[in-house]
């Protein structure tokens, strides 16, 4: 196993109006190996989303470095990092273009990291493939291939986002509570689909979740964040031995009180 992502002393400080420094990320050191699927737990304001934003480049860090495949990408812009890192947001509205059709959205995702030239898009030739891809989810998305994404249900829209994030096999997949905005049943189905996709493509993934159960059931590593630091890092074995009760107890003792 080789290191895919290395964060060294990653720090993000925000000064508030009273000029008090607020450490959102506090010298985070973290190494993610290829093929790992890490679930990330932590209360509100623990720095989970900021950690993701620092990895994707959508927020600027105050200090430290981000390395991907041994390359220092700290100064890379979000657009450049996007060629290697893909992401699914919590809000189904954020991951898709509402006025563009499902096929058009998929086409854009297929161009991830590629040059956008004046070559005709040739969407018709791709549609059969897209239809097959959508059918693999099993929620009827394949019937809406020419429907604007904005008219899909939240679950369909979010599964489209997931397909878009995984279809051109990213080196790193970041899931930011991507099932949280859905009803329990849809949420569960999407989570299972996510797990299948990750296993099938052997993706390296980090997933923020507020569901402790999901954090234990899925993935092969678990980290807990608190006050901008990684306070717990469990490998596969340690994670397997951990029960929901243990985890809850740990949170109570630590007064981390995440919203379950």
């Amino acid at each position: 196993m080789s290191a895919l992502l290395e964060l060294k002393q990653l720090t993000k400080i925000i000064s508030n109006q009273a000029d008090e420094d607020n450490k959102i990320l506090d010298s985070v050191d973290f190494t993610l190996n290829e093929g790992e699927f890490v679930t990330v737990l932590g209360g509100n304001g623990a720095g989970k989303s900021t950690l993701f934003n620092s990895i994707t480049g959508s927020t600027e860090t105050t200090g430290g470095t981000v390395q991907l495949n041994g390359k220092n990408i700290t100064n890379w812009k979000e657009e450049k990092r996007a060629g290697y890192i893909s992401r699914v947001f919590q809000d189904p509205k954020m991951g898709t273009a509402p006025r563009m059709t499902v096929a058009e959205n998929l086409f854009l995702a297929q161009l991830r990291g590629k040059k956008k030239t004046l070559k005709p898009r040739g969407l018709k030739k791709q549609k059969a493939g897209y239809q097959e891809l959508c059918a693999s989810i099993g929620n009827g998305l394949e019937r809406h291939i020419d429907t604007p994404a904005g008219q899909l249900s939240g679950g369909q829209r979010q599964s489209l986002s997931l397909l878009m994030a995984t279809m051109s096999r990213p080196e790193l997949l970041l899931l930011d509570e991507h099932t949280a905005a859905l009803d329990p049943k849809t949420s569960k189905r999407l989570m299972q689909l996510t797990d299948e996709l990750i296993k099938e493509q052997r993706l390296t993934c980090m997933m923020i979740t507020h569901q402790m159960e999901d954090a234990l059931v899925y993935g092969n590593r678990l980290i807990v964040m608190k006050d901008g630091e990684i306070t717990l890092d469990l490998n596969q074995q340690e994670k397997d031995q951990m029960t929901l009760k243990d985890l809850l107890k740990l949170f109570e003792e630590d007064k981390l009180t995440p919203t379950i």
């Binding site: 994707t56 959508s58 979000e78 657009e79 450049k80 996007a82 060629g83 893909s86 992401r87 509205k93 954020m94 991951g95 898709t96 273009a97 509402p98 006025r99 563009m100 058009e104 086409f107 854009l108 995702a109 161009l111 991830r112 990291g113 590629k114 956008k116 030239t117 004046l118 070559k119 005709p120 898009r121 969407l123 878009m164």
Partner: protein, 297 residues
Amino acid sequence: MFISLIISAIADGLIWAVLGIGLYLTYRILKFPDLTTEGSFPLGSAVAVTAIVSGVSPILSMGLAVLAGMGAGLVTGLLYTKGKVPVILAGILVMTGLHSVILFIMQRPNLSLLNHDRIYYFFQGLPDYYDVVFTGMIVLALLIILLLGFFYTRLGQAFIATGDNEEMARSLGIHTDKMKILGLMISNGIIALAGSLVAQELGYADVNGGTGVIVIGLASLIIGEVLFGNLKLGQRLGAVVIGSILYQLLLLGVIQLGLDTTYIRIYSSVILAICLMIPQIRRSLNLGTLIGKGEKA
């Protein structure tokens, strides 16, 4: 007499539709109103008329006008994306600055095309206004074909995605700043083309020729949308053309009612204001089916 008035309104509608299509790229696709318009439109007039007067052919002069408009769009785009100036303000800054640029180009506030060639002379033999109608139709057809061709390229799709969901576009590796600059350049190039067409019809270019044109452009766009509701991209551009013609006919009607043309701008504003409010009025009165399918945000 009345027929010729109608034909002249249609002719005006066709060449002003070019402006509406230019605005469509920013106002509808990128989703912001670009005030550079009121500078790039008279800039297009000034460049084309100055070039024609200096002996350049009308077609080439219009090409120069397009380039000048694209330059104006580039400046607005750079101010907006690199300089982080709010886009409305960036447009106002460029629009204001262009006033001086136009004076520099023409070396006077007003330049006449009297006794010079115009693009409309291709259809010289035709009765009044028909030359403008045919020229307008040809220009619009070419413009719409080119734009649709562009929209359905990879680059064009990235451009549309930028306006539709910027955050998503960036997360897919689309350089959204470049897309906005590109959009502003193409849009203002088209708007300058409209300026060059209108100036050749009027027979002169005026440094103040841009005042209020954004209202005319937006009116054709909104009228088209209010009438036709949800359409595909290509049809939307067609709807702008129809909207522009209807707007000119509406103005003609207003004038025929005997209202003083001195105050024409307020009629324009009122027409646009009403059109902009129609979706809202319809919602509060629940008139959905009476006026059409309506505008989909």
